[in-house]
Amino acid sequence: MSVIAPDFSGRTVISFQHVWKRYPNGTDALRDINLSVPEGDFVFLVGPSGAGKSSLVRLLIREERPTKGKIFVNGVELGRMKRRKLPHFRRKVGLVFQDFKLLPQMTVHENVAFALRVLGESRQVIDRRVARALDTVSLHGKLGKYPRELSGGEQQRVAIARALVHAPRLMIADEPTGNLDPATAWEIMQLFLKINADGATVVMATHNREIVDLLRRRVVVIEDGQVVRDDRAGRYHEALQASALRA
């Protein structure tokens, strides 16, 4: 069995080493995952529902710990990270989810500002950085709107802006286009490409076959808790077919 040697020369952002995740009911959500993501990479995690993509994302943001194996992010082993260090770790990672996770009682500006308010930043710093983040996602005109007054695509942009205010070097997205129509999904993908082009590493779990096939980025296929395929410029369809053929 090959071990992917962690390379902490400033190039490897994420490294999974023989990672297992077993839930209390006895199911193995992840089995012996080995994965290395260099800085600046754009990785699609694909696979059928229940294959283990979301488990992998939860481990990656230390919502859960692996049952076995080690996960390194920027050279730090997440399993050994102390609870009080966790907030500092999460501030360096931008997180985007399928259900946006916006607070309905707050306006667009307040939702994005919230990420800085919890750090106790001053109003000047908050206003400046929120404006910049909303500029990046082209939402500057909707500052005072509430989430319910926005379309799905706009809500996801707000969520992305919130993830961007900390200027993260790593963006993790779990099905960010899952609730969006194809045209809107494509717009959101353009945003992620832009963020990636600006230097951030992007890891995205997705079911969106068209987008994966069009972009031809790195594709990691997870099935039944295992990495069954890791293509440099992969395709969703081919990847699944190939793994189906092998099985």
Binding site: R83, P87, H88, R91, L103, V118, S122
Partner: protein
């Protein structure tokens, strides 16, 4: 400055959360108020009882030794000196037969009795002030065995009664503590449940806070403040109600409830206020602290 902004955020969140779950918050405040009233009544009764016990203690620490009419004065003075030299004794007063008769006659209840007697039937007395209640018994024995004492009724000391009083006071104190302990547990559970509801209502916000890297205590702080707010609000209500009812209650029921030593002590009010506020704040903080430790983890 950052700390100040955190505090402001926590206070603001706590205030909003308190009113967002107004039903649960008000129910909690009312419950804690009732509990603090019970605790306050317990304190007031304890205070009144302590006052009565103190007065008993000063009274029973004086033993009156009746001197036999046949005892020469020199023997009495010898014994008086012996007692005064005893380290357990605070002081001894000799009351002559005449003085004792005067005292006896001064009591209007004895007027008829005095009219019907001749001569002086009351004995002279040695009044011994004992320093500690626990030594009263030993000094009493000393008096009883003194050969100069009146044989029929040597002392007026009622050992049994005092022993029973001391025991009763110990039991009442224990019962007071037990009641307080039960009240503390009940209030902590009530506050914990209020906090659980507040956490449930704000679960979305808590989830987002975690995602954007808020520290654990940043997330927990508002809930602890909310708990303290509940406790302090309940303490103010309880104190207001107790103060309003204290004097009228004592005046109305003092005669009916003669077996409970009711008395109004205005000096005790500030102590009661302090205890209730401190108690309310501590109960609130404790309940919410345990609550957030259980329900808010990042």
């Amino acid at each position: 400055m950052r700390l100040f902004r955190h505090l402001l955020f926590a206070l603001n969140s706590a205030w909003q959360s308190f009113w967002r779950n107004a039903g649960v918050s008000v129910a909690a405040v009312v419950s804690i108020t009732l509990i603090l009233i019970l605790a306050g009544v317990n304190l007031l009764l304890g205070h009144a009882l302590a006052g009565v016990l103190d007065s008993y203690k000063t009274r029973v620490s004086v033993i009156s030794i009746s001197v036999s009419d046949q005892t020469p004065l020199a023997t009495v003075y010898d014994f008086k000196q012996q007692l005064e030299a005893d380290p357990r004794v605070a002081g001894v007063t000799f009351v002559t037969k005449d003085e004792e008769l005067q005292r006896f006659s001064a009591d209007p209840r004895n007027r008829d009795l005095i009219a019907n007697i001749e001569g002086n039937p009351v004995p002279a007395k040695l009044e011994v002030h004992v320093k500690n209640l626990s030594d009263v018994d030993a000094i009493n024995n000393l008096g009883r065995t003194w050969r100069g004492a009146d044989r029929t009724d040597p002392t007026d000391y009622q050992g049994d009664f005092i022993a029973r009083m001391v025991k009763l006071s110990a039991w009442l104190t224990l019962a007071g503590y037990a009641l307080m302990a039960i009240l503390v547990v009940v209030s902590v559970v009530i506050v914990m449940n209020t906090i659980r509801t507040a956490v449930y209502h704000r679960r979305q916000e808590i989830e987002v806070m975690k995602l954007v890297g808020a520290t654990e205590w940043f997330v927990r702080g508002p809930f602890v403040i909310e708990g303290v707010m509940t406790g302090v609000l309940a303490a103010s209500l309880a104190l207001g109600l107790l103060l309003g009812a204290y004097r009228p209650f004592v005046e109305r029921f003092r005669a009916d409830l003669f077996f409970i030593p009711l008395s109004y002590d205005p000096r005790f009010v500030s102590t009661l206020g302090q205890d209730l506020f401190l108690g309310g704040a501590l109960l609130g903080a404790m309940g919410s602290y345990i609550g957030v430790r259980r329900f808010v983890r990042i």
